[in-house]
Amino acid sequence: MVKQLRKRHLQVWAVLLLLIPCAIIAGWLVIPNQQPGNLLQPQESTALQVILKSVQKENYIVNLRTNNDRSASQLEWINKSALTSPSALIYKLTNTSTKDISSNDLIGRIDVKGTYHFPLKNDSAVNNKFVLYDIIHQQVIDTINF
């Protein structure tokens, strides 16, 4: 390498010494508290006995379930086929806006064809409004009102 090129290399790495740590720290700081990656349900999860409400869509059926003594609630998502958005999250709306989706309750992640069960807080039987959200495209795919 000629002297000028050696100098340029050193300058580039001096700049990267500043930029890369900033990028890593900034990326780390904006990680949401709720982690979608950990929300794939265990395979052995089973449905609660009672269906409270049900919504039928073209590609999926969504049921609100509870047990016999109504001490637990559950969202059942039956995917008839793989979603066109491969990485979709279900949020329970706690406010009316979907602009900052992470401020709502993250319920779970939908992936391939199959049946998914997600536990809900016990007060979920009333005023339930859910949103299916595409995390890659950052947009609402569908809204489910019970």
């Binding site: 390498m1 000629v2 002297k3 090129l5 050696r6 340029r8 290399h9 050193l10 580039v12 790495w13 001096a14 990267l16 010494l17 930029l19 890369i20 740590p21 990028a23 890593i24 900034a26 990326g27 780390w28 904006v30 990680i31 949401p32 982690q35 979608p36 990656g37 794939l40 395979q43 066109t84 958005s85 491969p86 990485s87 992470s102 992936d111 391939v112 595409d134 995390i135 890659i136 495209h137 950052q138 947009q139």
Partner: protein, 346 residues
Amino acid sequence: MSASYQAIGWNRQKKRYDWFIAGFCALYLSIFIVLTAIFNSQYTFETVLIRSTSTLAILILHVILCIGPLSRLNSKFLPLLYNRRHLGVTMFFLAAIHGTFSIIHFHALGDVNPFVSLFTSNTNYNSLHGFPFQALGFFALIIFFLMAITSHDFWLHNLSPKVWKTLHMFVYLAYFLVIMHVMLGAIQYESHPVFVIMIAMGAITVISLHLITGLKEVKKDNARFDPAKNGFVSVCDINEIEESRAKIFCIDKERIAVYRFENSLYAIHNVCKHQGGPLGEGKIIDGCITCPWHGYQYLPNNGQSPPPFKEKVSTYDVMVEGTKVWLNPSPFPEGTERPGALINNK
């Protein structure tokens, strides 16, 4: 090297190197897929393929970026430098598999062109958390693509070394884009601290190695010599130079390699015409100064590559007085014959 850009027969070392790369990639991908099938069986094969190729490509990218400074620090790493472009092309193929499957998986099922969808489906450019990180990966992949297709010496000669080197220095921008792509993408959704630690450790290693070697080179460039006498500068003792090896001196602007060969000293410009390799860190093989990076050769007495090759570097006058070596830093035109200085000429 080849005079006509034809394929060069793979020697044993190159074959072993390529088999090792292929074997390592196959082993890594297999282990990744099997472990995911055992511990995260919900994931689809597409997802596993996207993740396994991306992690492997990033691992190889870090290795590639470390090879340069490591070979500056220790000559045992030079064989890796010699074959670095193979590793680079392998990394591009892995990144391309990752990119292709990601575009199919995330963008091909809608009614919009997948490439249009890549840039228009998420326009949160003012949000760090929701930033369209896939675009960053796409641009990095474009850079890797340009580097892979121009990796052959045909392009080095036709683009000119300056343009070629400038193009290939974009790997540093690509590295930054990859870090951003990972931090604003995968890390946001798989935020286990171990992933952030791995990325940080990789970046610290790469940056440290480059800065350490860079600063070491600055020190070499700034070495001071006694004032010149009749244009010659006293540079070292004759016993400091081993037979068939060189010592490098930076007196004015550029480095000069002073070689000792068959009881004479010869001085040539230290920069190889091929990719700027340090000729003074090579050795004399078959009577030719051989670049440690890719084996380009030059005759010590005139700085010319042996026929049919046409590369030429500048030569310099060197002189021996007693055991002292004197060097004139004014270069002769490239390929100028110089007799060399006899060592026992007292």
